[in-house]
Amino acid sequence: MNALTQTWVTVGLLSDIPIRGARCIKNGDMTIAVFRTADGRVFALEDNCPHKNGPLSQGIVHDGCVTCPLHNWVISLETGIAQGADEGQTLSFPVKLEGDKILLEVSR
């Protein structure tokens, strides 16, 4: 079995994502949502709410959080942790900007 290595992959440009919006990255069976906040930061979470697997990429982005479109859970973009009284955590992925390019770190 090969050991998994971490690789930075270019997935798109910052301008591809609406401000306070998200776009999806398909990685095999998994969908990763890449978010762009009002202050120009990017974050990447698995596109699954820890509550009922709602697609977080379809939610409303506000400050450092996204509200799930299915039942309004609020998830931290930075940690993937559910805010307020709800409990749960979504996988988060390292992501960075090089100029306008968005790089996502994935296991290979």
Binding site: P18, I19, H71, R108
Partner: protein, 817 residues
Amino acid sequence: MTEKQKLVVIGNGMAPGRMLEHLFEKAPDAYDVTIFNAEPRVNYDRIMLSPVLSGEKSFEDIIIHGDGWYIEHGVMLYKGHKVVGIDRKAKTVTSEHGEIAEYDKLVIATGSAPFIIPVPGHDLPGVLTYRDLDDVDAMLLAAQSRGKAVVIGGGLLGLEAAAGLKERGMDVTVIHLMPNLMERQLDPAAGYLLERAFEERGIKVITSASTKRITGDTRVESIELEDGTVIPATLVVMAVGIRPNGALAKEAGLSVNRGIVVSDSMQTSDPDIFAVGECAEINGNVYGLVAPLYQMAEVAAGHLANGGGKNFVETSTATKLKVTGIDLYSVGDFAEADDREEIVLRDANAGIYKRLVLKDDKIIGVVLYGDTGDGAWYYDMLKKGSDVSELRETLIFGQAYQGGAALDPSAAVAALPDDAEICGCNGICKGTITSAISSKGLTNLDDVRAHTKASASCGTCTGLVEQLLGLTLGDAYNPSAVSAICGCADLGHSDVRRLIKAKELKTIPEVMQELEWKTSCGCSKCRPALNYYLVCDWPDEYADDYQSRFINERVHANIQKDGTYSVVPRMWGGMTNSTELRAIADVVDKFQIPAVKCTGGQRIDMLGIKKEDLPAVWEDLGKAGFVSGQAYAKGLRTVKTCVGSDWCRFGTQDSTGLGIKLEKFMWGSWTPAKLKLAVSGCPRNCAEATCKDIGVICVDSGYEIHFAGAAGLDIKGTEILGNVKTEEAVIEHVVALAQMYREQGWYLERIYKWAKRVGFDEIRRQIMDDEEKRKAYYERFVFSQKFAQVDPWSERVSGKDKHEFKPMATLSLEAAE
């Protein structure tokens, strides 16, 4: 990990609801729970039916557990399933619809049935009981006639029903068997004061009266008393008591007397079967007030969680009458006896009566009328058996007079010990509330209700809880604060709307800056609201912010639980033809759409479409002439019609044609919440216009315009706006009404709630009587439609927002090899 046990609950009232809350807290993973509810709805606060009847609250306000709660806790809830059999050998229960569920533990919570006096005529239509929401709905329907009602029974429920029906405009008489009202809770003097208070409200009270028969041909017409008095009535409500529902348990061979016999651990004669609530009998007693029922719930949950915990202990329960403007409190035993003393205070002018019954220097009974503020203080001493000989001289004047303390109303609450009970329904004491306020940083009543449940049931302790908030928080507590739009702002919806216009705020960042938002870019509650307000107020100037819209309005389809979407094309007035149907069939085949369904608004819904396919689906539908049905919008949804004078032999006008005209005029407009219309061709009302947001009933002489109906969480018949003669007039009035609602409604506030808030008469005055106002509303709607009537589907087929519908990247797996 051990496998979860199966818990089946029969009944979904307040007692089993509370039991499950305790159980999920104590042992969240112990059971898979299945509930069978004979009523077709979720768990609601039955004590609050009276405020629903009187119109002070809506059904929505009294829901305890919404659908989300059941989903969240993985509870399988069968609504409208009555259980017809329990098989104790096989350990299964069977519902009337043939659903069979296995159990390891079973909880019976079948509650009670209202007692019906078996006089002749008791089964006539128009004779009701007062027990659940269906009864309230039936009473509300009957009350629309503004006719005469007779309530049999002058107990707590009967009096609340009488007050509610009076509030709804009926002419009400209460008939009571005993010489004074509420004789189980009140002494004759308080009963007299209560009777007088009801008479003052125009409710007639006849005591010592026994019903002989109820008469009428096809429905109730009058009621005859034993003394020969005949009282005309179109509605008779029997509220003479309840009877525990033990039939199911009895058939299953469990021990049943008056109720289902349980031990003080709430177990029936079969240790795997529990009973809680009004159906249970402990030590020969059955209970109807909420506090002991909640105690049963807690006990049963404890034993289900770990087979141990507290057992049931009988305590006396305080009674309060929930009729606005009548303050009444009673607890304990107040019969006269030689070994008892009493202290009485009367103030006839102020309508105050207080009576304390003492035995061996201890309080054993309390009746308070007119001023019930000291109820909790007396009750606390009664429960503890405190010796009151020291206080005797001034006891009756209440807590504030003790030790010459100042007459500060909150001083009484401040002086209560930490273990004094504040909320009788939920058994919450003062210390629990104050420590929750300080430790969790609670600042308002809703917070306290959410965290402690205090004041969350009948609400009569709300004043005490507010005083505790004031005492604990000091000046930081502002009781008159309008509830803010969300946590990001201090202002309520009305202020925000007013200031957007007054300060001419035209973008979301501008609103947030000027109105001092506390977060940098709002949240999912305030942003959609602000976006709507700006779209509505500045139709030609504001650029719609799609990132502040919910996903459905952003992609013009309805998101489903699995992340796929549903699509509903517009079918004007509900009319279609073979070409359209063929085009839909082709789209369904081509995109392998898994489900197709007719909606309640006479449209066709295609469900289970992948997001990436949406533009292509719309393209094909567009070629057949379809535009978006906006079934996802807080905006105009559908205009439902009947076939009217075109086809129907009863049709008086062209209801289909009028419906289509209205829909073509109004489509595309955004509104505070969804807006559904209907046009019926005659008063038979096949389009069900009288439960719509706006409805039109065609009559021979013209058109009757209705508004503010509801048939969702709440069921509410419409109010009549007025009558007009021509189709043009219908359109002008309906559009003006819609614009008034658009300009004043709070985001997500349906038209019936808005109308209740601003007043039906005020709306009639502006739309029917004030021609200038009406025309101005109409013009503003027409102006805003210039910018709103763009088909969002064809825009997207031509490439708008294409980033929404495809992934930004697909990572190939090759690199991994």
